[in-house]
Symmetry: C2
Subunit: 205 residues, 2 copies
DNA sequence: GTCTATAAGGTGATAGAC
DNA sequence: GTCTATCACCTTATAGAC
């Protein structure tokens, strides 16, 4: 029941192995579709041993989501008030696209959770995430007022950036199915498309 | 085992009730997260009675996906070679957004399936869907050659349209969480944002 | 056509030996 | 800390009465 406190090297190693395995399994099958057995196998532990480290399947899922929130929000955090507005937005788009390429499992973990109504994460969405988005939307509004950016709704701009970039991680199976056998390394094409697209759409005319 | 062939009124009614209930349940919890019990309850039938109409849970899921493919593809089908290119693309965007508003369950049904690797639908993606996309991408390429549209990769343009519009259905929980309590009817704002956005990005300069 | 009852196997979690 | 064994429950699907 009580989790081990004074962490030995082996405890740290096993905890990490469990979280890594859980990310792999949860991102692929969703919470309900994943079994403790699968995670234990992937982590190289027995089921009871895994449940010695975490009290329940839900506890693993929660720790994963909470632990990844910072990584998830980092690219938006970096949006810099003092930079060139269009460059800043494009930079955000490209950072987010890089994250979809490098951390697709993390993206799908969140996608699975949100598509199903975000039951285990709604508090974080209406907390840290909303606060950060509100803050950055004010910055974008200022840029627009100063005539440095086309007049667009900042919230829907951010939604569009999330949608277009995460699409390449979350709907990877579809993207590959459509592009196959034409293209393999489609991320470079996506980056070029998105950069040009956002530059054209956001430039003041 | 054998499904009823000469369909009586009650059989038609029950089959429809099952598919309607299955759409509700599958779109909310995914395939693995849904139980036959839930679907039977939602359809107002007993579990054995439901399994008299469909041989298995998977059969219901398959019939749902196959039956919705046409609806799913209709907005892209309507893309008209002879229309004004920018208007045609914007029209497609708005039809797709309207579909996200009016048929969010259908959108989430596909989203759940694709996020998890599209195991039960990959053939349709690499079949009908890919053929249609290939066809329409040729049309878009022609428009670009004729100088009627900005030079963009047509495949990634279509991906961006899917992403930005379906986002409002698939990630509804997040959109509401961010916008709450500011806005309720955000679809009108989304439509305005997307129309202006695609017009600016696609106009020849 | 619809029901009750139940088979058959999976699943989260625990007990207790080592 | 880790294991084997097991419990209690859930879930898909079927059998057979009505």
């Amino acid at each position: 029941m009580t989790r081990p406190r004074p962490k030995t090297r082996i405890q740290i190693k096993n905890t990490r192995a469990i979280l890594e395995a859980a990310l792999e399994v949860f991102s692929q099958h969703g919470f309900r579709g994943s079994t403790v057995d699968q995670i234990a196998d992937a982590a190289g532990l027995s089921k009871p041993n895994l449940l010695y480290y975490f009290p329940s399947k839900e506890a693993i899922h929660l720790e994963l989501l909470a632990g990844l929130m910072d990584t998830w929000l980092a690219p938006l955090h970096q949006l810099n008030t003092d930079g060139d507005p269009v460059d800043e937005i494009v930079g955000y788009v490209l950072r987010k696209l890089a994250m979809a390429r490098e951390l697709p499992r993390e993206s799908r973990l969140f996608a699975n959770e949100i598509v199903q109504g975000a039951p285990r994460i709604i508090d974080q969405i209406e907390g840290d995430l909303r606060d950060l988005v509100d803050e950055k939307c004010k910055v974008i509004r200022d840029w627009i007022k100063q005539g440095k950016l086309a007049d667009v709704d900042p919230y829907h701009l951010i939604f569009s950036i999330w949608a277009t970039t995460q699409h390449y991680a979350d709907f990877d199976a579809q993207v590959r199915g459509i592009l196959h056998p034409k293209k393999d390394a489609h991320f470079a094409d996506a980056a070029e498309f998105l950069e040009n697209f956002y530059r054209r759409a956001l430039a003041v005319s």
